[in-house]
Point group: C2
Chain length 124, copies 2
DNA sequence: CTGGATCCCAGCCGATACTG
DNA sequence: CAGTATCGGCTGGGATCCAG
């Protein structure tokens, strides 16, 4: 990884970014925005399992990071669109390689889990 | 991303893997193991801020996923070495691209945050 | 429609003590 | 050395109600 920073210590940029990447909901939102701007409630519906509170918080966080933009339209009622910024787009492209890994190695992980459980769980 | 799976719904492999990647400590451990096997207390010392409990839990989790192997040596006192499995190694290589993104775009994120804070926080 | 404000509980995580 | 066990505090996040 990087020799320049001490990844295992605090105050390391990689660790900082890791804290953001490590947000499952943020990644899911970023991914959902890849095909264009989406409105708040639309995100809420699409991303199954996210609460309105967490959605709101997460959006604010990634907006602060400059990963998404927030555009308000003075319609009645008001409309708000969230969209990927160029910076956000570079991140989703990077994250996509993770998704590829996931799909490719899912079976191996599942198999490992079953083997592990079979070897440890059987108190009988 | 993947058309075959609904990333935004539960029971999706990508989402499953995301739960693991989203574990900051797991990623840090995996990364630390890249240069070869490491013993428990050594990991504990190197990864600043992790508690023994969380280290133990996380190791067990990623061992179950088949990402690391656990080898016990019958020395006195006992020695345990954790090492990356081939599967784990492919994952760290993928994650490394994330680290590259982090280092490359850290400044942009930092700047975005400051701009955001300056635009929203200054009630004065 | 887009959130903010509250209440509240489950789970997480640190600290500590103990075992093989 | 390498953990497990237990307790307890803190907070993240769900549910609900309300506002612009």
């Amino acid at each position: 990884m990087s020799q320049a920073y001490d990844v295992y210590n605090d105050r390391c940029p990689t660790r900082m970014v890791l804290d953001r990447i490590a947000d499952k909901w943020a990644v899911l939102i970023l991914d959902r925005l890849q095909d264009g701007p989406v409105r708040f409630n639309h995100l809420r519906r699409d991303i199954h399992g996210i609460s309105q509170k967490v959605l709101s918080q997460t959006l604010k966080k990634i907006e602060r990071d400059g990963l998404v933009s927030r555009t308000v339209y003075a319609t009645v009622p008001v409309t708000v669109e969230y969209a990927l910024t160029p910076l956000g787009r570079t991140l989703t492209e990077t994250v996509r390689t993770l998704a590829h890994w996931a799909e490719k190695n899912m079976d191996a992980v599942l198999a490992a889990q079953q083997a592990y459980d079979a070897a440890t769980a059987p108190p009988r």
